[in-house]
Every structure is written in C-alpha cells, then in structure tokens.
C-alpha cells in the first residue's frame, strides 16, 4: 500500500515541486506534513493510555483497530506552547511503523510549495500569508532517535 505512494508522489514534485500537504495547528503555529505519510486522521474519542516512565513529548498509547500505536505530543515534540488539551490525531506510517501525532487542529489539505532551506529537517513555507513549517519523515525519525538517545530509551513504548 505504501510503496506506490512514494512513486506517485515523486512524480509530482518533478513536474511541479508542489506537494499535497496536510496542514495542522499546534499552539499558535502551523505545520505541514506530506499527505503521503498520512494513513488516517481522526478525533481523539477516548483518553490516551499513559506510557510508564515516558517523557513529556510521548503523549501515550491508543488502540487503533486492535493495534497498539504510540502517540507523540506534538506541542512538546515541536517545542511549541500548547493552547488547549486534547485534539485530533494524525496517524502516520513511519518506516513500516504506525505512529500517532497529537495535534490541536487539522486545518486543511492543500498543495504547498516548499520554499527556503531545510533546517534540521524543517523547511519554511507560506500558507495563506502566514509562515508555516514543513516537517517530513526524516525529521520525525531523526528527532525521535535523538530524543530517545538523550534519555537512554530504546523505544517509544
């Protein structure tokens, strides 16, 4: 399922460097995530199950169709001051593993052109006149690895 997507996706930037991007909001900042990463979006129906001894950027676990999926608290993960508790979950597939991202509000699905240099896996872009940061698989993967190494933890859960 995931394999045809990158192929399809890679076609598009070549002809046009626009990419279908899911735009969400954490705190007062907007972030864009390539739609190809996204498996599903949904409202958080029940509270998250806590992960023992987890740092603040790990929000907890959810049961998604019988599968245990860890969820990252994106406000802590992206170093943004949160505006409200709870919110919506963006389920992504990261190198064959399912991972939930707890965001405050999924706002739009748009074609976005990446502009400016990539810095630590985050690239600046503009969305409706406001600055937006685009994050991708590599950034999330790298950041998770780095954070886990900092606290000497093997895995998220």
């Amino acid at each position: 399922m995931s394999k045809p997507e990158p192929a399809e996706k890679q076609d598009r930037p070549q002809e046009d460097d626009r990419e279908r991007t899911l735009i969400f909001r954490v705190g007062s900042e907007r972030f864009g995530l390539p739609l190809v990463m996204v498996v599903e979006v949904f409202e958080l129906a029940s509270p998250l199950a806590p992960v023992p001894g987890a740092p603040g950027w790990i929000a907890g676990m959810i049961n998604h169709h019988g599968q245990v999926v860890p969820v990252l608290q994106m406000s802590a993960f992206l170093d943004v001051a949160p505006l409200k508790e709870g919110g919506q979950i963006v389920l992504v597939e990261l190198f064959g593993e399912s991972l939930g991202l707890a965001v405050e509000q999924i706002e739009a699905l748009e074609e976005v052109r990446a502009e400016g240099p990539i810095r630590q896996g985050r690239r600046r872009s503009w969305h409706r006149g406001a600055l937006m940061e685009l994050i991708d698989t590599d950034y999330i993967q790298g950041s998770i690895k780095r954070r886990l190494a900092e606290i000497g933890r093997q895995s998220i859960i």
């Binding site: 399922m1 045809p4 997507e5 399809e8 279908r20 899911l22 739609l35 190809v36 996204v38 498996v39 599903e40 979006v41 949904f42 409202e43 919506q88 999924i106 739009a108 699905l109």
Partner: protein, 421 residues
C-alpha cells in the same frame, strides 16, 4: 440741882462750917488752941470739900469737852457717858445728853448720806452702762440704717438697670414676635410649595412606574433574545463539529482515494469537494459562531444595562418616594411649625404686656425704695440726735457720780463705826 445752888451751898459751907464749929466748941473750959484748931480744921474741911467739888465739876467739863472735840473732828464712834443717877441732873448732864443726841443725829444723817451716795453712785453707774448700751445699740442702728440706705441706693440702681433690661427685653420680644409672624407667613408659603412639590413628585412616581414596567418588559425581551441567540450558538457548535468531522472524513477519503491510485481519482475529486464544502461550512459556522458570540455578549450587555437602568430607576423611585415622604414631613413640620410660631407670637405679645406691667411694678418698687431711703435718713438723724442726748445723759451721770464721790469722800472724813478701835 443747879450749879448756882451748888456754888452757893459750897460758899455757905466754907463760911458756916467754921462758924458752926466755933459756936459749938467755944467754952472757957477749953483751951484756946483747941478751939482755934477746931475752927481751922472745920474751915480746912469745908475748903477741901469745896475744892473736891470744884475739881469734880472741872473733870466732868473736860470729859464733855473731849467728847465735843471728838465729834468736832468727826469721830462719832464714842458714846458720851452719862452719870448713873437719873433723878438729879444738873446742866452738865443735860449738856452731855444734848451732845450725845447731836452725835447720834449726826451719825444717822451721815449714814443716810453715805448710803444715798452709794446708791447714787450705783444708779449713776447703771445709768452710764445703760447709756453706753443704748449708745452701742444706737450705733448699730445707725450702721444698719446706713446699710439700709446703701441697700436702698443699690436697690434703686438695680431697679433702674432692671427696668432698662426689661425694656430692652420687651423690645427684643417685640422683634421676636415680628420675626415669628414673618416666619409663620414664610412657613405657610413653604407648606404650599411643599404640598405642590409632593403632588408633582407623586405624578413623577406614577410616570416612572410606567417607564419601569416598559423597561421590565424590554428587559424580558432582550433576555429572551439572548437565550435564543445562545440556542443558535449551540446549533452552530453542532454544525461546526459536524463540519469538522466531515472535514476529517473527507481528508481520510482523499487519502484512501490516493491509495486507490487511478481508480480512486474520481472519488478523490468528490472527496476533495466534500472536504472543501466541510471547510466552507466550518468557516461559515465559525463566522456565525463569532457573530452569535458578539450578539450574545451584546444582548448580555443589553440585559446588564437594562438591569442597571432598572436598578437606577428603582433607586430613583425609592428616592422619589423618600422625597415625597420628606415633602409630606415638611408639610406637617411646617404646619406644626406655623402653629408653634403663632403660639410664639401670641406668647411674645403677652410677654410684652407682662413686661410693661413689670416695668410699672418695678417703678413702684423704685419709688418705695426711694421713700425708704429718705425715711431711713430721717431715722438715722433721729438716732444721731438720740445718741447725742445719750451722750449728755452719760455726761450728767458722770457728773452725778463725781458729785456722789465727792460727797462720799466728805462723809468718809467722819468716823462712823468702831471698826478701827
């Protein structure tokens, strides 16, 4: 027997005794010498008897002379001795008796004189004492009279002052009376004004009640409107939620469509349209929500404003009610004040009349006091005259004392009792 006879008898004795002797004894038988001796002896005896008798008379005369001498120097103590025989008394005896009688009478007179003198002395002393006392009393009377005179002067002065004060008081009472009348008029006017004010305030309260009811109705409407708006808000929330869920579903549909590849392209377009629709709905709902929020805030403010206004109106009504009460109080107070002022005015008039009478009475008192003062002067003069007379009396009494003393001194020159010897 009289001294003459005694002298004659003595002479005869001296002559006859020798003669008788010669006659008896002359005889020749007898010697001569015996006869001569007998006659000489007889003569000698007669002579001796005569001498003895003369000496006796002389002695009695000396005794009498000594007694007279004693009386003469004032010694009346010695009684003059009489001879024992009562029957035969000669001139010397009667002389002695006369001297004795004189002494006794003299003594009685002197005693009487002495007692009279002491009586005069004591009477005079008590007279002097009395005069002194009277004089002291007169002095006291005089002082009292002076004080009375001073008191009368003071009284007159005070009466004058009091009269002036009362006149002044009467004038001020008159002014008070006039002021009270003015006050009565003013208070009557104030009463009328307060009454009309009270009526106007009552009308204002009635009108205010109407306004109040209108505002309450309006407030109710605004509140209902606010409630409805909240309902709209709730509906909008539901719409927003539905739109968001639709949005998420559309995103998921888009993802699924992308995964379906070419087969999903048509579906992807539909999903995208649904997503955009949901987005629009969400945006519209958001705007409606904002408007609803503004409307809610506005209506809440309106309700609050109406409540505040209502509160103010209520307070205003209360204030008006208290104003009415106050005005009614003013009317009653002014009415009773007016009554009181009239009473004051009447009393003041009565007081003026009373003050006039008082002035008259005080003038009478003043006249009486002046009369008193003049009477007092007359009494004072009489007392002074009395005092002077008493001085004369005292002086006379002193003179009497002096005279009595002198007399007594004279009496004392005589020896009246035998205390010394």
């Amino acid at each position: 027997m009289r001294l003459l006879y005694k002298i004659l008898i003595g002479y005869l004795l001296v002559l006859l005794f020798p003669l008788a002797t010669w006659f008896l004894i002359h005889s020749p038988d007898r010697p001569g010498w015996i006869q001569v001796t007998a006659i000489a002896g007889a003569g000698m005896a007669a002579f001796a008897a005569t001498v003895w008798w003369a000496l006796s008379v002389g002695r009695r005369l000396r005794v009498l002379a000594a007694a007279a001498e004693q009386v003469g120097v004032g010694d009346l103590t010695q009684k003059i001795q009489r001879r024992g025989h009562g029957g035969r008394q000669d001139e010397l005896d009667s002389l002695a008796a006369s001297i004795e009688k004189m002494r006794v009478n003299f003594l009685q007179m002197l005693n009487t004189l002495h007692s009279t003198s002491s009586q005069a002395n004591s009477s005079s002393s008590s007279l002097t004492e009395l005069a002194k006392r009277i004089n002291v009393s007169a002095g006291e009377i005089s002082q009292s009279m002076e004080q009375i005179a001073k008191g009368a002067d003071l009284q007159t002065e005070l009466v004058t002052k009091t009269s002036a004060l009362i006149n002044e008081m009467a004038r001020s009472i008159e002014r008070t009376s006039r002021s009270a009348e003015d006050a009565a008029k003013s208070s009557a006017e104030a009463s009328v004004v307060a009454q009309s004010g009270s009526q106007m305030a009552g009308k204002a309260v009635e009108k205010m009640r109407g306004v109040f009811e209108g505002i309450e109705k309006y407030s109710q409407r605004v509140f209902e409107f606010g409630e409805r708006t909240k309902e709209i808000g709730n509906i909008v929330k539901v719409i927003t939620e539905v739109a968001q869920q639709t949005h998420l579903l559309a995103i998921n549909a888009t993802i699924e469509a992308a995964r379906a590849g070419d087969a999903g392209r048509g579906f992807a377009v539909v999903a995208e349209e649904i997503r955009q629709l949901a987005e629009n709905t969400s945006r519209s709902a958001e705007r409606i929500g904002g408007i609803v929020e503004e409307v809610t805030v506005g209506s809440e403010e309106a309700v609050q404003a109406v409540k505040d206004t209502s509160q103010h109106l209520s307070e205003g009504r209360d204030q008006l009610t208290s104003i009415i009460d106050a005005l009614e109080n003013i009317v009653t107070t002014v009415t009773s004040g007016s009554d009181r002022v009239q009473i004051i005015s009447r009393l003041a008039r009565e007081q003026i009349a009373g003050a006039e009478q008082t002035v008259k009475a005080i003038e009478n008192i003043s006249n009486v006091a002046q009369k008193n003062a003049s009477s007092t002067e007359a009494v004072s003069q009489a007392v002074e005259a009395q005092s002077r007379s008493l001085l004369d009396v005292t002086r006379l009494a002193d003179e009497i004392v002096a005279l009595a003393g002198a007399m007594d001194a004279e009496v004392r020159k005589f020896k009246l009792e035998k205390t010394d010897e």
